[in-house]
Symmetry: C2
Subunit: 315 residues, 2 copies
């Protein structure tokens, strides 16, 4: 397939690099202000080198890229909330040309799900967004295959930064501030970590999953989620839990049609107690108990392989 990749950050770059090994051609790659376009296929390495050297990906415009020849638009610009722009406009441009759209960007399907599905209905193109929930883990495809109507609840650890921090606090008896700095030094937490540690990232993923489960009966946005983060969790909270054979993890859940995110005290042997930056999602199914998927929930490669899986499903 010919891929137009919108966004050249960690995810866009990983998708561009992985695309060739999956048999695809990258015909356009954009950053926030420019684009590189070649309908016969870009030299991805050369294009990324140019970006590193000149801070511009090419001499074309993002508009040119949206108008170029491609099969699938991969939206990998940074997640924005509210109106989910400019991602929403990118999606609309693709659907107006009956192209398929694969999202890594959570904004459109968290904050404007009904609008995006309406654009899709008007189009020959199809929307997929596995990478927006759980990185490499096949969460949305499992829900899709088993039938959203047959999945009765979802629960998971969906943010690697928060999980890493809590794991380290528990393992070493350290306090939050200390481990946050360690996480930032390792590149596991951002300079501004609020999106992760305040629970927003987990909440967005639950909102997206809830929109899928609702199948159009109800539309969720971030405002519908009850969200508590892990900021300032004390080392003593973890020590107390540990004394009972339990620990604390940032858990997101969709239960009885409500979305809740917050630190939970859970038994140490619970499958939800994953280590480091691992993620896990448990789906309660109507007929077959709990199904769980776990793996790398974030990172360029983890996100990119779910985008490759979505593209394969479109073929």
């Amino acid at each position: 397939m010919k891929l137009a990749i919108i966004g050249a950050g960690t995810v866009g770059t990983s998708v561009a690099e992985m695309a060739v090994t999956y048999g695809h051609t990258v015909t356009a790659l954009t950053d926030s202000t420019s684009a590189s376009i070649d309908s016969d296929g870009l030299d991805v390495e050369a294009t990324l080198s140019q970006k590193r050297d000149t801070n511009e990906i090419g001499t074309d415009s993002v508009e040119d890229a949206l108008a170029s020849e491609y099969d699938v638009l991969v939206e990998a610009t940074p997640t924005t909330l509210d109106t989910a722009q400019p991602a929403y406009d990118h999606i609309r441009a693709a659907f107006e040309r009956d192209r398929d759209v694969v999202l890594a960007n959570k904004g459109p399907v968290a904050q404007r799900y009904a609008d995006v599905r309406a654009l899709e209905r008007e189009s020959e193109g199809e929307l997929r967004f596995e990478a927006t929930v759980g990185g490499a883990m096949p969460v949305l495809s499992t829900i899709e295959d088993y039938g959203p109507e047959h999945v009765t609840a979802l629960r998971g650890v969906l943010n690697g930064t928060a999980n890493f921090i809590l794991s380290r606090m528990a393992a070493e008896g350290l306090d939050y501030e200390h481990v946050l700095v360690e996480a930032q030094d390792l590149g596991v937490a951002e300079a501004d970590p609020s999106f992760d540690v305040e629970g927003t990232d987990t909440a967005l993923k639950c909102v997206i999953a809830a929109n899928v489960l609702a199948q159009g009966e109800r539309e969720y946005t971030l405002d519908d989620a009850s969200v508590d983060g892990i900021v300032g969790t004390s080392g003593s909270a973890l020590s107390l839990a540990n004394a009972d054979g339990r620990t604390v993890r940032l858990v997101g859940e969709i239960v009885d049609d409500e979305i809740r995110v917050g630190p939970r005290i859970i038994p140490q042997q619970s499958p939800l107690v994953v280590s480091g930056t691992e993620n896990i999602v448990q789906l309660a199914t109507e007929n077959a108990g709990l199904l769980s998927v776990s793996g790398h929930g974030a990172g360029g490669s983890a996100t990119a392989i779910s985008i490759m899986a979505d593209i394969r499903r479109l073929e």
Copy 2:
């Protein structure tokens, strides 16, 4: 979709009962000697009642069912090895009529994989067999979506009977014979448990997965697997392991293109240490580390929901 369900044991019965809630029509249902056929859709409850009362499912023949009007043939007769009959003939009959085939029966894709794929290539029909590996867990679909060529190894606990026995031995310090009887009383182990406790069931599932991963480059059968079971595992082996914070589980793995099944001593915190009859499969991916799926690996409902998922993928 119209389903012709071949086999009215635990799995066939579960599929027939579940089909209607998934929006499908059961147009034929067979046991080993007879069939009930209605191209407008059987009354599944009445048909199953008749089977319970008379030990015959209907007054038509299995041949009639294979020749009847349907979209998808669901092969749910008991797994047989060697020539995988009569399942193989059922598959051939469906493909000769360009119908789709969904398997719960492991025999054809474990013992005659190349033959079955050849039949499929000659047909407009498509083959799917998620339910043959890991029950409710989305193992084969995950391999398919992420690309078999990008999955470098597989490891798992794939037999609930063996896992239940080892879990109970570890938890209670009981010996093998004692726990086997308990498992049989609970219906977790068969009267003749050899298929499960000798590792054959796990091996067949690994053989099927290995065939999928090989993508036609190599064909595996049960003879290619190195298989050790759990028969006669001693309580003291488990106690010794426990003293080191470890335990014993029956693990199947595909590593470096070889299939090995046997009891393994593993750390108690390993994700492979699942409880009771749970199963887990870990996939090593080229680009995104370990992906794991876990859930109910056996039972009528667990198997049936994977069949429903396969049918959804065919639509």
